[in-house]
C-alpha cells in the first residue's frame, strides 16, 4: 500500500468541551472542492480550518473494511439515500461521501474535463465569460498534476471491459481509454469503497496531506448548522460536534474572514437557506447524471473483478446526451442487481464469474430539488425531464445490444421484476414496449447545480468568482455551483472550479479581509 502522508485532524467525536477556533478562512467540507480550496489558500499564506461532518477513516483502514462497512462509515446516510421520484421518474439512489476526503474517497477515479461544448454554452449563452476551455485550462492542468491523472493501461482492463469494447466494436461504436487519478492501481475493482492499496489519489492522499503540511487543521465529525452573517458579510460558522453514533452534542464555532461552503449539492443549499443567503434558485436546478447498468452473462468465465473498475468510455452518443462507460462493482454489491427472489436470485447470483457489467449515464436536463424538511438530511426530489426519458431508455438499449453483440447468453436489465432478456428479439420487444419509468433502477453519484453560478443575480446563487450574490465573503466551491449538468463524471470539473475560485479569493484577499474587518 502507498504510504499515506499524515493529516492534521482534530476528531470532533473525541472533544468533550466547547470548541472555539479562529482562522482567515473556514472551509465547510473536505471533499473534492473543499480540499482544493483549503490547500490553495494555505499555500497562499492564509490560515485555514476545514470542518467536515463525516468521520476520519484513516486510509490504512480502507482495505480492512468490507464494502458495507465503508458505506456505513464513509457514505452519507450509509448509502441508503434516494431521490423521491415525482411523475414519470425512475428510482434513483443518490450517493455522496460523508468522511474526511468526501466523495473523492468513493469515486471510481474517473477524471474527465468539462467538455468544451458545455464550457462554450456557459461562457457564450450564460455569460460566464471566464469559463471558456482556455480560461479554465490552467486549473485543470494544476489539478491533474496534483492528483496524478493518468490513462488506464490496456493491460489493466478487466475481461468485463474487454467484452464491453468487443460488443461496441461489433456495433461500430468507438471506445476510448478513461483517465483516472491513480498511481499504482492493483485492479481490485473496489474503488467506490476506498482504495485498499492507496493507489487512488483521492484528496486524502493528495490535497489534504499537503494542506496539513501547510498548517491546515481539519475538524472531523463537525456538523455546521449555521453561517454567522453580520452586516451582510459572513464571519464564520457554528454547529455541533457529532458523537460516535453521529448524534450532535458539543457546540463549536469557527470565526473567519471568509467562509467557503463545499459540502456538496445536497447540503450547501440547506446551509445557504438557513443563513439568509437563500435566493429562489437555492436548492433548485439539480441535475444527477442518472446512470444505469446492464449485467450480461456469457458462456465463458469473465471474472470481471480482475482489473480496473472503470477503464474505457464512449462519447459517440454525446450529442444524444449519453455517455457509455465500463464498470464492475464488488460482487456483494453487484449481487443486488440480479433479478429474482430466493432460489431464482441465488441461481442468477451464481452466474457472477460469467458476468460482465456495461454502464451508461445521461446528461440530464435537471428537475431535481433539495429542501429542508424533518431532521438534518434534505428532502431530495427529482422529476425527470420528458426529453430525458427516451434518452435513458436509449442508453439501456445501446448497452444491452452491446452485450448481445459481444456474445452474451442473457442480459439482465436494470428493471425491477423483469427476467433477463435472452435474445435480441426479446430486446426488440422490450424497446417496443418500454417499462414504466418507476421500475427502472438508476444510480446517481453526481448531484450538481443547486447553487448555480450566474452572470446575473436573478439567474443564480453565486457570481463567477464563487461568492454568493447575497452575502459578502461567503463562497461556494463544490458541485452545486456548476450551472448545468456536464454529462461526464464530475470530480475533476469540481476540483478545477474550486481551484479557480481559490485563486480568485487569493487574488482578492486584501479587499475581502478589509471588508471582514
Amino acid at each position: 500500500m502507498a504510504e499515506a502522508r499524515a493529516l492534521n485532524v482534530l476528531r470532533g467525536r473525541s472533544q468533550r468541551q466547547r470548541l472555539e477556533l479562529s482562522a482567515d478562512v473556514v472551509v465547510v467540507g473536505s471533499g473534492a472542492g473543499g480540499a482544493v480550496v483549503a490547500r490553495d489558500l494555505a499555500r497562499d499564506g492564509r490560515t485555514v480550518i476545514v470542518v467536515e461532518e463525516g468521520d476520519w477513516v484513516r486510509s490504512a483502514e480502507y482495505g480492512k473494511l468490507t464494502p458495507v462497512e465503508t458505506m456505513r462509515r464513509c457514505w452519507r446516510e450509509a448509502g441508503l439515500s434516494a431521490a423521491v421520484a415525482l411523475g414519470e421518474t425512475p428510482f434513483i439512489s443518490v450517493l455522496q461521501g460523508r468522511c474526511v476526503g468526501g466523495s473523492s474517497v468513493l469515486t471510481g477515479g474517473v477524471c474527465f474535463r468539462i467538455p468544451d461544448e458545455v464550457l462554450h454554452h456557459w461562457s457564450r449563452d450564460l455569460g460566464l465569460t471566464t469559463l471558456t476551455p482556455e480560461g479554465i485550462d490552467p486549473n485543470f492542468r494544476a489539478v491533474e498534476e496534483e492528483i496524478h491523472v493518468e490513462t488506464v493501461r490496456e493491460g489493466m482492463r478487466s475481461r468485463s471491459t474487454e467484452l464491453f469494447v468487443e460488443g461496441a466494436a461489433k456495433l461500430g461504436i468507438s471506445m476510448r481509454p478513461v483517465r483516472r487519478n491513480t498511481q499504482g492501481c492493483h485492479g481490485e475493482s473496489r474503488c467506490n469503497f476506498g482504495c485498499p492499496h492507496g493507489a487512488k489519489m483521492s484528496v486524502d492522499f493528495s490535497y489534504l496531506p499537503d494542506a496539513s503540511d501547510r498548517g491546515v487543521l481539519i475538524v472531523s465529525d463537525a456538523l455546521v448548522e449555521r453561517i454567522d452573517v453580520t452586516g451582510g458579510a459572513a464571519r464564520g460558522v457554528r454547529g455541533r460536534l457529532l458523537d460516535d453514533e453521529s448524534e450532535p452534542g458539543t457546540p463549536f464555532e469557527v470565526h473567519a474572514k471568509v467562509v467557503v461552503l463545499a459540502c456538496g449539492s445536497l447540503h450547501t443549499p440547506l446551509l445557504l437557506r438557513s443563513s439568509g443567503a437563500g435566493s429562489w434558485h437555492v436548492g433548485r436546478h439539480m441535475t444527477l447524471h442518472p446512470a444505469v447498468r446492464v449485467t450480461a452473462i456469457f458462456d465463458d468465465v469473465v471474472e470481471g473483478w480482475d482489473g480496473s473498475m472503470q477503464s474505457v468510455y464512449s462519447d459517440q452518443f454525446a450529442s444524444d446526451g449519453i455517455t457509455l462507460i465500463s464498470v464492475f462493482p464488488p460482487p456483494s454489491i453487484l449481487s443486488a442487481a440480479f433479478p429474482g427472489i430466493g432460489p431464482t436470485h441465488r441461481s442468477n447470483v451464481h452466474k457472477m464469474p460469467r458476468a460482465a457489467v456495461f454502464g451508461a449515464m445521461i446528461h440530464d436536463e435537471g428537475g431535481g430539488r433539495v429542501r429542508r424538511w424533518l431532521g438534518r438530511e434534505p428532502l431530495v426530489t427529482y422529476r425527470m425531464a420528458p426529453e430525458d426519458r427516451p434518452r435513458l431508455l436509449r442508453a439501456m438499449e445501446i448497452v444491452a445490444r452491446m452485450g448481445f453483440a459481444a456474445g452474451a447468453r442473457e442480459v439482465a436489465m436494470p428493471i425491477f421484476g423483469l427476467d433477463s432478456l435472452r435474445s435480441e428479439r426479446e430486446l426488440d420487444a422490450f424497446v417496443a414496449r418500454p417499462p414504466e419509468m418507476h421500475r427502472i433502477e438508476c444510480t446517481a453519484y453526481h448531484p450538481l447545480g443547486t447553487a448555480r453560478m450566474s452572470a446575473d443575480p436573478r439567474a443564480g446563487v453565486v457570481r463567477e468568482t464563487g461568492e454568493t450574490w447575497q452575502v459578502d465573503n461567503l463562497f461556494v466551491a463544490d458541485g452545486s455551483v456548476l450551472p448545468t449538468s456536464i454529462g461526464v463524471n464530475s470530480q475533476l470539473g469540481i476540483m478545477a472550479m474550486a481551484d479557480k475560485i481559490a485563486h480568485g479569493i487569493a487574488r482578492d484577499w486584501r479587499r475581502l479581509a478589509r471588508r471582514a474587518a
Binding site: V68, A85, F91, G187, E188, S335, G342
Partner: protein
Amino acid sequence: MARFVLRPRQRVVLRALGDALFAHERGPRPEQLDALVDGYERHLTPVSATLRFGLLAMLDLIRWLPLLLLVGFRPFEDLPRERRVRILERMECSRVAMLLVPLVAYKSFLAFIFFEDPDELRAMGYPGDGARKRWLKLAR
C-alpha cells in the same frame, strides 16, 4: 446516545424477509440470518432518524402485506417460506410503486450484507480480495 437497536418484532420480520430473499435448498443458515439482522441494525445506526423511520415503516408494510394483498390472514413472518417468496416475487413485479419500493430498499441492502459472507462469496466463485492476475502480469 446508545446504538440504535431494532425492536424484537422488527428483528423477527427482518429475519423472515432475509430467509425468503436468500432462500435455497440448504439455507440460509440460522447464523447467517442472525448476522444479516445484526448487520442491518448496525447499518441503521448512522442513518438519520427520518430515513430510519421510513425504512422501518416499509418493514411494517411488508409485515402486513399478506393481509393487504388478501393472500393470507397472518403477518409475513408467520407464513411458510414458499409463500413469503411468492409474495416478494409479486412485489418485485408490481407496477405499484408503493409495493415495489419497500422490496427494492430491502433486497438491495440485505443482499449487500448477505453476500459479504465469505462462504457466500466463495460459493459464487469469487476468489476474495487480494492479488489480481492482470496486475501481477503487468507488474512482472
